[in-house]
């Protein structure tokens, strides 16, 4: 009896703490959601936590297609598509290059591969602010400053160390006999990669997609520095919408804009979260 009472006291404390933490994170979200569905009038005159009396999607519509940044009133739609135009090519390139790097580094080992891997890891820990000016100069010289292609290139380059690390650590945990068997079977380096290694890479690819997607989509500093004026990626644009100074602050539109820009990463996590955890566990423990 005693141990049982102790247990329930402990679990009550744990659950209580979890409840408080959940509130801490969920209340702002709740406020955002209800505010985005209210009219501006209602926001000003009702309590911040009250449910909307009249549900309206006007804020969402305006945020998507007609909210203004500066003098341009296009909503965040074009910025959203700009982000997608950068995200998909850069993510695909970073994943393909990272997988190939990881494969070559883990199964075709050489001293130079180990040095290269060490350099990649060190490189990925240097704060990216340090690179901004050299990058800007380089891109200016290459004539791709402020272009979509420039941002794709930067995000690819910046994503490769992460994907290389993920794939390499995953492949190192696979039995090396698989590759040896394929060598004896007469398969070449790339045939082994395509036919044996890539089909086994689904778990770690899900991890890579989630991390790289989040990284590129949520990027602010590259978007702000290298984005073309009027055609910046979404994270830079959404801040412009919110911080537009003239007239009254349209809280419902702002909330809707923030929600729209946060949704894709949220969706990715909800859909792939389970696989994400599985992939991480598989990568670190056993192949």
């Amino acid at each position: 009896m005693k141990s049982r009472r102790q247990y329930s006291l402990r679990s009550a404390l744990v659950h209580g703490l979890l409840f408080v933490l959940a509130l801490y994170f969920l209340v702002p979200l709740y406020v955002m959601v209800v505010a985005s569905f209210k009219s501006l009038d209602e926001i000003i005159h009702s309590s911040i936590i009250a449910l909307p009396i009249v549900w309206t999607t006007a804020g969402w519509e305006k945020a998507w297609s007609s909210a203004c940044t500066g003098l341009v009133c296009t909503g965040i739609k074009p910025y959203f598509f700009e982000t997608m135009a950068i995200l998909f090519p850069a993510m695909s390139a970073a994943i393909v290059i990272g997988a190939l790097n990881g494969y070559l580094m883990s199964f075709w080992r050489s001293r130079s591969a180990d040095i290269l891997f060490g350099a990649l890891i060190i490189g990925s820990f240097i704060p990216l602010q340090l690179f901004l000016i050299p990058l800007a100069v380089t891109m200016q010289k290459l004539g791709i400053f402020g272009s979509t292609f420039g941002l794709i290139l930067i995000h690819t380059v910046y994503g490769v160390p992460l994907t290389t690390m993920l794939y390499r650590n995953f492949y190192v945990s696979l039995p090396s006999e698989l590759v040896k068997a394929a060598i004896v079977d007469g398969a070449g380096v790339f045939k082994i990669f395509r036919s044996v290694i890539v089909p086994m890479s689904a778990p770690i690819t899900i991890v890579a997609v989630i991390l790289v997607f989040g990284g590129i989509y949520n990027d602010y500093i590259f978007a702000l520095t290298f984005g073309e004026t009027g055609k910046r990626p979404i994270m830079a644009a959404v801040l412009n919408i919110i911080s537009t100074q003239y007239a009254v602050a349209e809280h419902n539109v702002n909330m809707a804009a923030v929600m729209i820009s946060a949704l894709p990463t949220l969706l990715i996590f909800l859909v792939a979260g389970k696989f994400f955890v599985m992939g991480l566990a598989q990568g670190s423990v056993k192949g």
């Binding site: 040896k180 068997a181 060598i183 004896v184 079977d185 398969a187 044996v196 089909p199």
Partner: protein
């Protein structure tokens, strides 16, 4: 000659792992590389396959020097300890992958698959993935994968060590009959001496990157060329009795305390000198209890006291002691023997070995 290796050396950095390996294997030979872990037997197999570059030496497969060839061009097949089946491919594709890589047509692949799967009785498994197979089935598929390309040489790296004891016995006899059916040359690595003895036409005992002896299982057991091989092979181990050799009336006599054995049938490598120190090696089977003494002159007797009896099922391992001589013998477990009993033992001198105690060489 199906496989010939001459003066093969291999080092990892500064550490030598193979030192002057010499092997010759004729067509249809089942050669087993036997040794403790770390003796270099797996490395040797990987060198033959071409998965490890060699430092120096020559490897011939079917009279062709292959040491500079890529693994795929050596026409060898390999079975790995963990089978290394491609987990995302079906059994059928696992088996035909090698053919696919060498550019065989779909029809050729299909025919080869039919041939191999009926030979190994795995027709029902062809659509499954490796993870849906039991250990024994995986083993079969791995062997199937090695058969499909009609290789000149089969290389097997401890393929049975992941199976449970009963399945291992089954696979052993299947592999023996498969070898007989195919007439193929096989090189098989194991640390299990029973497995080595039961499969091999010849066994190469390896130690510290060298081959200590290469011969038929019979030769290794009954005429080991060194103390190392004598002690390595056989359970319970060979009995070793230190003593001296004396020359008496044209024959050699082994003496230890009161025990005197007249060695008439022993083939000395060179005639020993008077007073040579030696180790006498006697297999447990060559110590015969008096009650089952066969009529023969080459038997010499000794009365001994039983100190310990170990029951192993069909056999008893009986430890005996007399005046500084310790011996172990094997008896049928139907015999009633207890510690403290005194029994008369005869030594069968047709199956003994004599070794130099310091060099470890056979006299």
């Amino acid at each position: 000659m199906s496989l010939a290796i001459h003066n093969l050396h291999k080092s990892f950095g500064q550490t030598p792992v193979l030192n002057g390996i010499e092997i010759e294997a004729t067509q249809g030979e089942f050669l087993v590389l036997l040794g403790a872990s770390g003796c270099g037997k797996s490395t040797l197999l990987h060198c033959i396959a071409g998965l490890e570059p060699i430092t120096s030496g020559e490897i011939f497969i079917k009279e062709k020097a292959v040491q500079d060839f890529l693994p795929a061009d050596r026409n060898v097949a390999m079975v790995f300890q963990n089978y290394a089946l491609y987990p995302t491919m079906t059994v059928a594709r696992n088996i035909t992958f090698g053919l696919e890589c060498s550019g065989a047509s779909k029809a050729e692949q299909h025919d080869a698959l039919q041939r191999v799967s009926s030979l190994l009785k795995i027709q029902d498994l062809l659509d499954r993935k490796p993870r849906q197979l039991s250990g024994g089935q995986r083993q079969r598929v791995a062997i199937g994968r090695s058969l499909v390309r009609n290789p000149d040489l089969f290389l097997m790296d401890e393929p049975m060590s992941n199976l449970d004891a009963r399945l291992r016995l089954e696979m052993r006899s299947e592999l023996r009959s498969l070898h007989a059916t195919l007439g193929a040359t096989m090189v098989f690595v194991t640390h299990d001496q029973t497995e080595a003895m039961s499969l091999a036409t010849r066994v190469a005992v390896m130690d510290q990157g060298q081959i200590r002896q290469i011969g038929t299982p019979y030769d290794l057991y009954h005429a080991p060329n060194s103390l190392f091989v004598a002690e390595f092979i056989g359970t319970p181990g060979i009995n070793l009795v230190p003593g001296t050799l004396h020359l008496q009336d044209d024959s050699v006599v082994f003496q230890k305390n009161e025990l005197k054995l007249k060695l008439e049938s022993y083939q000395f490598t060179s005639t020993p000198e008077e007073g040579t120190a030696t180790l006498l090696g006697i297999r447990p089977e060559s110590l015969i209890p008096a009650s089952s003494q066969p009529a023969s002159d080459s038997l010499n007797s000794l009365e001994m006291k039983v100190t310990d009896v170990e029951m192993t099922g069909g056999d008893l391992h009986v430890r005996l002691k007399n005046n500084g001589i310790d011996l172990t013998t094997r008896m049928a477990s139907s015999k009633r023997v207890r510690p403290g009993d005194k029994i008369e033992i005869f030594i069968n001198l047709d199956a003994i070995s004599l070794f130099d105690p310091t060099q470890g060489t056979r006299l």
